[in-house]
Amino acid sequence: MTQQGLKATGTPDIAAERAGGQTSVEAPAELELVGVSKEFHSRSGSVVALKDVNLTIRRREFVALVGRSGCGKTTMLRILAGLTHATRGNVLAGGRPLWRDGGRDPETVGRLGIVFQDAHLFPWYSVEENIALPLKLRGVGKAERLARAHELCALVGLSGFERSYPRELSGGMRQRAAIARALSYRPGVLLMDEPFGALDALTREKMNLELQSLALASESTVVLVTHSIREAVFLADRVVLLSPRPGRIRSITEVDFPRPRPLEVEAEPRFQEIVRTLRRQLDEET
């Protein structure tokens, strides 16, 4: 990777190709969006949520999707996760299409771990049962899956709360349990939709540091949707800025501070310059 801190251009397609080309020497493609468009139809007419989006995400890369609300970033993540069907185009995971013969390829989906905006824990299961649920669905034995759940509780700082019900936890703890659930089956790819959006600033900062070390320790590829440019620049190797109506890639910015990054990195002029440039691009839209 180059030592240049900032690389952003105004023309989306060229930027996408260039950024993709530069990282291709390092790692194989993990996830690819190929000509993806998405239209939503309702009684009041149709909305183009995404228009001809091309993006290649490399193995172990941390990519942040930022943009104003309504720019299609959540839709993009849901399409990557196979929860929403693209109107046109396809998603490739490890070179294999995610959708085949009208259905989702289970093997490919099994490599994806998803963390939603809300924790979406099942209130009838204890923390350990929630974390172990994906393993239960995969037919892993009880002793083994609970051992894994306890291991993950320790990893995300929930030791001592294994038997608690979700309603007894704070918002930050629930979100950590949701991350542990997504990690339980070692998915390789983590797709996160504003996982810390509902948390207060201090907790959020702490969670960002934890997420960073988790991603590195588990060697995961991460796609993070966020509306915070600062958070995106702090965490990501590449920041993908989306612009709305129709949703498309406005720019792709490389952030080449080595990971893991300490909180102090935010004080560096280069960091602030990247944040400023991205904010300007976001403001130009209105």
Binding site: G82, I114, H120, F122, P123, W124, Y125, L137, R167, E168
Partner: protein
């Protein structure tokens, strides 16, 4: 100093005896002010009648037992059919649309008005009362289950989809648990309705059950005993409701309607 929560926990144990004393005092006062003994017998006479009633073996082995069996059997049938019909109507949207006008029509009919019909069809025995209790219990349970089946959180569904869960896995891990609180909400109403159904059935026919005893004592103009039977009915209804409530606490300890203090 006990905390506020501890006080809240003990509050009913203090407030209930106080309220009973207040009611009894008001009752005595009304009697002493000259209300007719046939309208309102003094508490002492009712108490004596209650003790005497409870000493009669046939009250337990015949009347209490009959009403209990009718209410519980009716409730069981109402629960079983209510859960099945509610689940089917909840999932099969076109069927629910097709039968909705009929369901609404059946709901707004005061079902007690149908009791004489059932007596004609099924006789004066237990069957007609069980059926009445079942029908009264059926509607609240069926409607709650229908609502419950449709109220599965879409976010939870996304989780199951993202985990490649199969149809049955989704049912057992998600839909079943998510519908249970609705089933219990329906059951808490349904058990009360089942008791009402059994008693109203007994009013109109037969010679067994606490409802029959009510009519019997009324015909004998035995006011203290009438009050005593009503007390027994209240106890029966309370115990059945309590049983459902205990089942709920055991089955869905995680739900908001069950206090956290009860499970920890």
């Amino acid at each position: 100093m006990p905390s506020r929560e501890q006080l809240m926990k003990f509050l009913p144990w203090i407030s209930t005896p106080v309220l009973i004393v207040v009611i009894l005092a008001a009752w005595k006062l009304a009697v002493s002010l000259g209300v007719s003994r046939y309208t309102l017998p003094p508490p002492g006479e009712v108490w004596a009648a209650l003790l005497e009633l409870m000493r009669r073996p046939d009250v337990w082995t015949v009347h209490m037992r009959t009403t209990l069996v009718e209410a519980v059997a009716g409730f069981g049938i109402g629960l079983f059919s209510g859960v099945i019909v509610g689940a089917v109507l909840g999932r099969v949207v076109w069927l629910e649309r097709a039968v909705r006008p009929m369901v609404v029509a059946l709901q707004v009919i005061p079902k007690v008005a149908l009791v004489p019909l059932f007596v004609i069809w099924f006789g004066f025995g237990m069957t007609s009362k069980v059926i009445i209790a079942a029908i009264l219990a059926f509607f609240p349970i069926m409607l709650n289950v229908l609502l419950g089946v449709r109220s599965v959180d879409p976010g939870h569904r996304d989780v199951m989809t993202s985990l490649n869960a199969g149809r049955w896995q989704t049912f057992w891990a998600l839909e079943f648990h998510s519908t249970l609180p609705y089933v219990f909400a329906g059951m808490e109403v349904g058990i009360v309705f089942a008791v009402i159904g059994a008693i109203v059935g007994e009013y109109l026919g037969g010679n067994e059950g606490l409802g029959f005893l009510v009519v019997d004592t009324l015909n004998a103009l035995n006011a203290p005993e009438l009050y005593a039977v009503i007390v027994l009915l209240a106890v029966l209804g309370y115990l059945l409701f309590f049983a459902v409530n205990v089942a709920k606490r055991l089955m869905i300890p995680w739900h908001e309607s069950v206090s956290l203090k009860d499970i920890t």
